[in-house]
Amino acid sequence: MTDAWAWLTTGAHWTGEEGVGARLAEHVYVSVLALLIAGALALPLGLWLGHLGRGGALAVNVSNVGRAVPVFAVLALFMVSPLRNAGYVPTVTALVLFAIPPLLTNAYVGVREVDRAAVRAARGMGMTGGQVFRRVELPLAAPVVMTGVRSAAVQVVATATIAAMVGQGGLGRIITAGFALYDTAQVVAGAVLVALLALVVEGVLVALDRLLVPRPPRT
């Protein structure tokens, strides 16, 4: 641990093309990009399916499939295909694929689990389908949807780390380089950075959740 601390406090390890700064920037870049793409694809679809009450089997099973497929295998398949020459494309594609299941499932389940009585009351007040969705279903589904966003973000940060095992960028490269050099201090230092990043992302999203998502008043 003291060796890892020494590695982390060595200024030279933080700068340059393969320094912590550059690797962190890569990691954040691919993660944010992938989360935005996955959100743009999965959230509208999941919310819409939930509103219609259709496609439940698809929305729920996609999560089971996502769990069974190894991230490392998908990244490796991309890297032995022509995609390997396409810069960040293989990493971002893999991240998007693994971010979609939690987003889609939670968006669907969130809307589906909204109290049917509230939906019927809104209909009875003369709200249209769109109004019911915007004013009733969406606010009530928000906490579950945000849980999906958090799972997806954690998944994305973890997947971006594994990208280093197939030679792609990101903070995981500090770990894999450490393994290649038999440098335990560097491996641990890289792992601490990755773990901290994951925990910070989780923390920020929990804080955002508290700030943005309306909570029913306590009774």
Binding site: A68, P70, V71, A76, L77, T161, V194
Partner: protein
């Protein structure tokens, strides 16, 4: 497709590869199954007592669930790496990391399963003179089994996928084959190992579902045939 020169041509699907490397594939599969089985078994042995402890002492619920969730947030590659100074390049390192992930799922599901036992059932058993252990063994655990087994299935499928990351220390079962194939872009090996890995997850899931049906014959009698 399966012409003898598919190895030279680096085809995605190559019968020749499957024939000539059968032993290598079998060894990797056996290692994969061993790592997964050990991890899930140990996780279960830790998770059930932990869940019982949390239920007996509700004050422990927040710290225990918080800690396991915190561990679940740490990416797998980082988890294995953090264990390196303690456990070295060993199977123990991979199993320990996998146990820590499986714990989160299993503790949650064990607790949820126990909480789903109807209070009246518990009262009835107590009224019949059941002591706390007999209540647990003969009433609560059997009734918690469906939710508990759902957790075991989820933990097993997750663990099978995560085991591949163990290839970073050379103990990743089928992941080792994927890692070895990368420098030469050996497509047939990457594809075969990946497909085997997913198949293993599907087969394990179905086997555990079968075990669950055997252990809970009453739920079959109640539910619609073929349902669930």
């Amino acid at each position: 497709m399966s012409a003898p020169n598919c190895l030279v041509g680096n085809d995605w699907i190559c019968g020749e590869y499957l024939r000539t490397r059968r032993e290598e594939l079998t060894d990797a599969l056996v290692q994969h199954i061993g790592l997964t089985a050990a991890s899930v078994a140990i996780a279960l042995l830790v998770a059930v007592p932990l869940a019982l402890l949390v239920r007996a002492r509700p004050r422990l619920a927040a710290p225990v669930l918080g800690l396991t969730t915190l561990l679940y947030t740490v990416p797998s590659l980082a988890m294995f790496s953090l264990l390196l100074p303690v456990l070295g390049l060993s199977s123990a390192l991979v199993v320990t990391g996998l146990v820590l992930y499986a714990l989160t799922i299993l503790v949650r599901n064990t607790l949820a399963g126990l909480e789903a036992v109807p209070a009246e059932t518990r009262e009835a058993a107590r009224g019949l003179g059941f002591g706390p252990w007999r209540l647990l063994w003969q009433v609560e655990l059997p009734l918690a089994l469906p939710v508990l087994m759902a957790g075991v299935r989820m933990a097993t499928v997750t663990t099978i996928a995560l085991t591949t990351v163990g290839s970073v220390v050379g103990r990743g079962g089928l992941g080792n084959l994927i890692e070895d194939a990368l420098p030469t872009f050996f497509k047939a090996q990457v594809l075969a190992a990946s497909v085997l890995c997913v198949l293993l997850a599907v087969v394990a899931d179905l086997l555990l579902l079968g075990v669950q049906r055997l252990l809970t014959p009453w739920s079959r009698a109640q539910g619609a045939p073929g349902g669930g």
